[in-house]
Amino acid sequence: MPAAEPEVVLEREVPAPQRNRRAGSRAAATDAAGLGRARAVGFVAPALVLIGVFLVFPALWTIYIGVTDYQLTGAAAAAPKVVGLANFLSALNDGLFHNAVWLTVLFVLGSAVIGQNLLGFALAWLLRGVRPWLRRTVESMVLLSWILPSTVVAYLWFAVLDRNGGTLNALLGTPGTAWLVTYPMASLIVFNTWRGTAFSMLLYTSALAAVPPSQLETARLVGASGWQTVRDVVFPHIRGHVLTNTLLISLWTANDFTPFLLTAGGPNHASETLPVFIYRQALEGGQLGYASAVSLLLLLGNLLVALVYLRLLRRRG
C-alpha cells in the first residue's frame, strides 16, 4: 500500500498521453510476459516441485532424523525414538566434532579464502599481458584440474604423494615421506587450492576486463608500482567480485567431500573435515540421527557465512 502513494503524486505531473503508457508499463511490471496468474503458476510449478522434492523435503527430513536416535543397524534402526535436542547437545560436547569444525575452518581459510583467491587473482593478473598462446595454454591447464572427475584426480594425487615411489618424494629427494599421513591437512590444502583455482581465475579475468584501461594507464604514468596499482586502482573496481568469489568458494570448500578420497579423514581424525565427519558418523558408525544433527549444524554454519558476506556486499552498495 505505501508504495502506491508516490506513484500517484508522480502521475499528477505527467501529461495525459504519457499517462496511458505508464499505466501499461505498470501492468508489465507485475506480468511482463502477459501470461496471467494461472499460467504463470503452471510454468514455475515443475521447478518448484523439483526444488521441493530434492531440496526442501530432504532438508526437513534431515531435521527430523536429527532429533531421533535413528541408526543404520541395531535395535535403534528398527524402532527409532525421538530424543529431542540430545544429538545437538552431544555434538557440542564431542571432541571429534570440535576437531572437525576446526579442520573445516582451516581448510576453508587455507585453500579457499587464501589459496584459491590469491592464486586465481595472481594468474588472472599475470596472464593479462602475455601472448595469447601462452595464456590459453596456462588457462587450459588450470581448467583441466577443475573439470577432471574427483576420483581421477584423487588417484593422480595418490601417485604424486605416495610414500613409496611417489613423484613428490622423487622430486624432493625425500624417500619414504608419507605426505598424506604426516602432513594430512597441509596436503589437502595444497590439493584443494590446485583443484579449485580455475573458478577464481576465470572470475577475476572477467572482473579485470571491467577495470577502465585509462585508469591503469594513468596509474602507470604517475609511476605507481604493480602492487600500488592493484591496491588503489584495481581493487576498488573488483571488490564486489572478490566478495562474491570468496563467498562461493568458501561454501563449496566447506561442503567438499573430496578430502575423503585422499585421506578418508585419517590418520586418526587428523583430516576429518565436517562433511567427512558426517559421512563417517552416518555410514561407518551407523549413527544416522547424530550425523543428521551435525549436517544441520553445518547448514547453519553455511548460512551464517553467507549472511556475513551478504552484509559486507550490501555495505559496499
Binding site: L60, I63, A78, P267, L283
Partner: protein
C-alpha cells in the same frame, strides 16, 4: 508481514515431514509361502569377492560352478532360474555399509555373504530374520548338512539361539614369520615364542636388518576390524581375559592397559611402523611388504596363507611361500597366563551366508543355499586348495595336504576364542581400534585407556562396562 507468510509455509511443511517421519524404521512382514511354485525365478548372490581382486577364487566358483550347475539342476525340475552374481572388492567396513544400506532400503541380493559378527546388528534392526521365519522351520531343519557342521562353527550363523544363516567356514590366527629374515638375524626356523617378551626379543634381533620392519601388529581405525582380530583381541586373551566376560565389556582394565602397553613397546620402540597403521590402505600394504620380505613377524589368520601370499592366486603372491613363510602359535603374555590358563591363544571368526528377508523367492533362495553348502559344492569352492570349511566331511579330505591349514585345524582351533555375538560388539571394536590408534600416534597407554573407557561407556552404557 513477510516473516509470517514464511512461517505459515514452514509449519505445514514440517507437519508433512513429521507425518512421513513415522515411516522410519522397519516393519517386517512374515510370509514364507511367497512364489514357492514359480517357474521363472531370479536370484542374486552378493559377496565381497571379485574376479581379479579380493577373494578371486570365491568369485570364480560362484560364476563358473554354482550358477551353471544350479541353473542346470533347476531346469531339470522344470524351473527357469536366472542367477546373478553381484561382485564386490571393497574393504570389509565399506562392504558392510553397502549391504546395510541394501537391507535398509528393502533391496539387496537374495543370498548375501557377511561376517558372522555383523549378524546381531542386522538382526536387531529387523533387517535379517531367522531362517525359520524366512524359509520355514521344517524346511530348514530338514537339511542334512547341519550334521556335518560343528556346533562352534554353526554358532557363527546364530544370534540369540536362532539360526540366521549357514557359515562358510572358520579360521584361526597365528604369528607368521619370514624364515629368510629370521636366518639373517640368527633366529631359528622352527621359532615358537612362549611369551610376549620373546616375541619382542625376536623383534630386537630383526631390527638389525636394514629396511625391515620387525613386527606388524595391526592397529588404528583405518584397519577396521582387522585391528581387533589381528591385534587387540588375540593380545587381550593372552592377558587372561576375553573382551566380554560375565555380562560386561572390559573397560580400562589392567588387561586392556597391558595390551595397549604391548602396542607402545612395539610402536614407540622402533619395532613396528607407526605410519603404516595410519595409512588409508595400510593392511594391503602390510601384505605387500610381508610378501616382499620387508616384515619379519605378522599376526594374521590363515587367510594370509591361502589368499594373500598364495603363489598363484594370492593378492600379494610369494613364489617361495612354502619355504619362506613360517608360523607359530600366538603366546600368552606369560606362559600359562592366557585365557583358561592357556600357554597359547588365538581368535577365530568366519563368514556366513544369509537369506535376505526381502527376497521374492525365499524358498528357492534356500534351495540355492543348500546347493552352495553341499559337500560337492564345498569341494569345488576349494578347487584343490585347502581351507577350513564349514563341513567336517570336506575338511577331513582336504586339510591333510596343507601343512599350514592342518596346523590351524589341529593346534589352533582347540585353543581359540570367538567374539561375542552381540549387537554392541562393533561399537566396542571401534573403541578398541581408536585406543590403539591413540597409542600408535604417541599417547601413553594410560591416556588411551581412559579415553577408551569414556567412549565405551558412551557406546554401551555404564552398566555394561567392567573396570576402569
Amino acid at each position: 508481514m513477510r516473516r509470517r507468510t514464511a512461517l505459515a509455509r514452514l509449519v505445514p511443511a514440517l507437519l508433512v515431514g513429521g507425518l512421513l517421519g513415522g515411516c522410519l524404521g522397519q516393519t517386517p512382514n512374515a510370509d514364507n509361502k511367497n512364489n514357492a511354485d514359480a517357474k521363472d525365478i531370479t536370484l542374486t548372490i552378493v559377496a565381497n569377492s571379485v574376479a581379479g581382486g579380493k577373494n578371486a577364487a570365491g568369485a570364480a566358483w560362484i560364476t563358473d560352478w554354482v550358477i551353471p550347475k544350479f541353473t542346470e539342476a533347476e531346469k531339470a525340475k522344470g524351473v527357469n532360474a536366472t542367477v546373478k552374481f553381484e561382485a564386490n572388492g571393497a574393504a570389509d567396513e565399506d562392504y558392510k555399509t553397502k549391504i546395510a544400506l541394501d537391507f535398509k532400503t528393502g533391496g539387496g541380493g537374495d543370498i548375501v555373504e557377511l561376517d558372522g559378527i555383523w549378524l546381531g546388528e542386522f538382526a536387531q534392526a529387523g533387517q535379517l530374520r531367522p531362517l525359520d521365519d524366512v524359509v520355514g522351520k521344517d524346511t530348514v531343519s530338514a537339511w542334512d548338512g547341519w550334521s556335518q557342521i560343528p556346533d562352534a562353527v554353526q554358532a557363527l550363523g546364530n544370534f540369540q539361539g536362532k539360526r540366521y544363516g549357514i557359515p562358510i567356514g572358520t579360521d584361526g590366527r597365528v604369528l607368521y614369520f619370514n624364515k629368510k629374515l629370521f636366518a639373517q638375524a640368527g633366529l631359528p626356523s622352527d621359532w615358537q615364542p612362549k611369551s610376549w617378551d620373546e616375541v619382542l626379543a625376536a623383534g630386537q634381533s630383526l631390527k638389525q636388518l636394514a629396511g625391515v620392519t620387525p613386527i606388524q601388529l595391526n592397529a588404528g581405525t583405518a584397519m577396521g576390524e582387522a585391528t581387533a582380530m589381528q591385534g587387540v583381541l588375540p593380545a587381550l586373551v593372552g592377558t587372561g581375559k576375553p573382551i566380554y566376560a560375565d555380562g560386561k565389556w572390559q573397560g580400562a582394565t589392567q588387561n586392556v592397559k597391558q595390551v595397549l602397553d604391548l602396542y607402545r613397546r612395539i610402536y614407540s620402540g622402533g619395532l613396528g611402523d607407526p605410519l603404516l597403521q595410519q595409512e588409508a590402505k595400510g593392511r594391503d600394504r602390510s601384505f605387500a611388504e610381508f610378501a616382499d620380505n620387508k616384515i619379519g613377524i605378522l599376526l594374521e589368520s590363515d587367510y594370509l596363507w591361502r589368499s594373500v601370499v598364495e603363489p598363484t592366486k594370492g593378492v600379494a603372491k610369494m613364489a617361495d611361500r612354502d619355504t619362506a613363510v613360517g608360523w607359530a602359535l600366538i603366546p600368552a603374555m606369560r606362559p600359562g597366563g592366557g585365557v583358561n590358563n592357556q600357554n597359547f591363544v588365538s581368535m577365530s571368526g568366519g563368514a556366513v551366508r544369509v537369506i535376505n528377508p526381502n527376497s521374492k523367492y525365499p524358498k528357492q533362495a534356500w534351495d540355492l543355499m543348500q546347493f552352495m553348502n553341499s559337500a560337492e559344492a564345498t569341494r569345488a569352492r576349494l578347487g584343490g586348495a585347502a581351507q577350513i570349511t564349514q563341513r567336517s566331511d570336506v575338511n577331513n579330505q582336504v586339510l591333510a595336504g596343507d601343512p599350514m591349514l592342518s596346523f590351524v585345524a589341529r593346534s589352533v582351533l582347540p585353543i581359540t576364542q570367538y567374539r561375542p555375538g552381540l549387537a554392541d560388539y562393533p561399537k566396542v571394536s571401534a573403541a578398541l581400534q581408536q585406543a590403539t590408534a591413540d597409542v600408535v600416534s604417541g599417547k601413553s597407554p594410560d591416556e588411551a585407556a581412559a579415553a577408551y573407557q569414556q567412549a565405551l561407556v558412551k557406546a554401551v552404557g555404564e552398566g555394561s562396562v567392567a573396570g576402569g
